[in-house]
C-alpha cells in the first residue's frame, strides 16, 4: 500500500471573474518528494500556490494536508499546520538589516509550537538560519540593510524566512528567477540539504535545466489545467507539453 499523501488536491478550480485560472486540478504529493511545477507564463502556477496556501479561496475543489481539509482556511492557519512558501517577488523590509527581517517569521506561533512554548533569542536564531542559507557569519552581510543586498542574497533571505518556520511542506515560487548560474549553483545544495532533512518541496520554476536535476516528479500546467505529469524525461516527451511550450506546429 502506498503511504497516504502529505498533500492532496482534488478537483480544484478558480476563476477570477471570467478567467479560468485553475481548472479541475488534481494532484498528490507524498512525504519527502520534490515536485516541480512548470508551465508557460500565465498557466496558473502561482495561483495554484496561492490556493494551497490560502491567499486565494478556491471556487471549487478540495485541498487536504495530512488528511485534514484545509480548503478555504486563512493563510496564517495553514502556515501553522506546516506549509510555508516563498514569494516570487521578494519584498523584504528594506530599511532593516537582513537578520532583523528574520524576526517576523521567528515571531510566528509555529516557531513557538516547535520550540515548546519558548521563542528564545530571536536575534541569535536569525543569524544561525541566515548562515544556513549562505550569509557568511564573519562577512557582516547579515547586518547589512536589506536594501543594500544583491538579488541573490534577497532570495536566500526569502528562503531562510520559510526555513525559519520549520515547515513540513515548502513551496518555493521561482526561487531561481533573476539569479546567475553561479548563484543558482550555490542555492541548490541548500535545497538538497532540506530534502535530506525530510522536507517535502514544491518548486515552481522556469529554469528547467536546474529544476530537472533535483526534482523527483514534474507537473506541467497550461491554461490552468494539468497537461502532463511524470519524470522530467516523460513530461518533455509529451506532445501536449511540446505544444504548450513551442506552439502548435511542434
Amino acid at each position: 500500500m502506498s503511504p497516504s499523501p502529505l498533500l492532496r488536491i482534488f478537483g480544484l478550480s478558480k476563476n477570477f471573474g471570467g478567467v479560468q485560472a485553475i481548472n479541475d486540478l488534481s494532484m498528490e504529493l507524498v512525504e519527502g518528494e520534490l515536485l516541480g511545477l512548470i508551465g508557460p507564463n500565465g498557466s496558473g502556477k502561482t495561483t495554484a500556490v496561492n490556493l494551497i496556501t490560502g491567499f486565494v479561496k478556491p471556487t471549487e475543489g478540495e485541498i487536504t494536508f495530512r488528511d485534514r481539509d484545509i480548503t478555504g482556511w486563512a493563510p496564517y492557519k495553514i502556515v501553522r499546520l506546516g506549509i510555508a512558501r516563498t514569494f516570487q517577488m521578494v519584498k523584504p523590509f528594506y530599511q532593516l538589516p537582513a537578520y532583523k527581517n528574520m524576526i517576523i517569521p521567528l515571531y510566528s506561533p509555529r516557531v513557538k509550537q516547535m520550540t515548546g512554548g519558548k521563542y528564545g533569542d530571536r536575534d541569535a536564531k536569525a543569524l544561525d538560519l541566515l548562515e544556513e542559507v549562505g550569509f557568511e557569519r564573519d562577512a557582516f552581510v547579515a547586518y547589512k540593510a536589506a536594501s543594500a543586498l544583491p538579488q541573490g542574497y534577497l532570495k536566500r533571505l526569502e528562503l531562510a524566512k520559510a526555513i525559519a518556520l520549520n515547515p513540513d511542506l515548502m513551496i518555493l515560487d521561482e526561487l531561481f528567477s533573476g539569479l546567475s548560474l553561479a548563484e543558482v549553483a550555490s542555492i541548490v545544495p541548500i535545497i538538497e540539504k532540506l530534502r535530506q532533512e525530510g522536507k517535502t518541496i514544491i518548486m515552481i520554476e522556469h529554469r528547467l535545466k536546474e529544476l530537472f536535476r533535483i526534482a523527483d516528479r514534474i507537473v506541467v500546467l497550461n491554461f490552468g489545467e494539468k497537461i502532463a505529469e511524470g519524470t522530467s524525461d516523460e513530461v518533455m516527451e509529451s506532445d501536449a507539453v511540446k505544444k504548450a511550450y513551442l506552439g502548435a506546429e511542434a
Partner: protein, 334 residues
Amino acid sequence: MKRRRERIDRGIKARSGDLFALCSWREMLYLSTPRLLPIIGLLVLSFALSVYWQRVLLSVSVFALLAISWDILAQTGMISLGQALFFGTGAYLAGIMNHYWGWPPVVTIPLATFFGGLLCTGFLVPVLRLRGIYFSMVTLIIPLMLVRIIEATRIFGGTEGISGLAPLPSRWMELYLVIAALLATLFGFRRLMSSDFGLVLKGINDNDRSVMNAGINIYWFKTQSLFIASSVGAFAGAFMTHIYLFVGMPVFALDYSILPIAAAVVGGIGTFAGSVLGAFILVPLSEILRGLGGLRIVFYGVFLVLFTVAIPEGIFHYIQRKYHQVERWVEVEK
C-alpha cells in the same frame, strides 16, 4: 562642477553606539540629552507658566496623546481620521460614571481608559479587513454617527450634555497627571515599537502578506494595536472631562480627529516624539493667533502649509538628523 550633499554620522554617534557609550560623560550626555530634554522641559514649564498657559499645556498634552495614538495606528497600517471616537468615548464614559454613579475621577479615569479602549476596538474590529481609505472613512463616520445618536435619542443629556462633574483634587494634580501620562506613553511606545512586537506591527504596514505568511494572524495584531491606541485616546477624553467638568457632543468634534493628524505630520510620523513636538507647536500657535479673530484660521493654515513644504519629513526627523549627522558639500567627479 556638480556638487552633492554628503551626510556623515558624527563621530560621537559612532562612539556612543555600544558599550563604549560609558567611555566618558560627553558620550553619556550625548545619549541622554534627547531623553532628558522632554522630561526636564515639561517639569520646568509646569512651574514657569502662568495659570492660563498651564491650561494650554493641558490641552497641548491631550492633543499630543491623541497624535501619538494616531501615530501608532498609522505605523500599523491603519490611517485613522477619527481620533474623536476614542476621545469622545473616553470622555462620555468618564462623565457617565461620575454623573450617574457618583464615582470619583480616580476611578472613572482608569476605567474609562480601559473600557473606552475596549469599546472603540469593538467598534472598529469589524472593519479591520478594510484597507487604506476605506478604513479611514469608517473611522471618520463613526464619531459623527454617535453625535447624531446622542442628539436624536437624547441619552446622556442629549444636546445639553452632562455638566457639574467632579474636578480633580488640584491644579497641580491635573498638570502632573497628564505630564506623567504623556511621558509614559511617549517612552513606552518608542520602546514598544523597537521591540520584536513592534517590528511585527510595522511589518503589517509594510507588507502584510509577508507577515501572514509567517503564520501570524495580522488581524489579532491590528486589534492589539487598535486597543493600545484607543486606550490612549480614551484616557485623553476622560481626563478632559474632569478638566472641563462637562461632557457633551463637542467631544466628538472633528477638531479632535484632524489636529492630532496635523501635529503628527508637522512633527514627523513614525517617531511619537514628532507627534509630541507637533502638538507643542500647533496648539500654542492656535492660542497665540486667537487675538486675530476670524483671520486666525487663515494664518494657522499658512503656517501648516509652510511647515509641511519646508520640512516635509517632519520637524523631529530634521532635528534628529542634525543631531546625529554632519552635512557637507562634496564635488561630484565626472
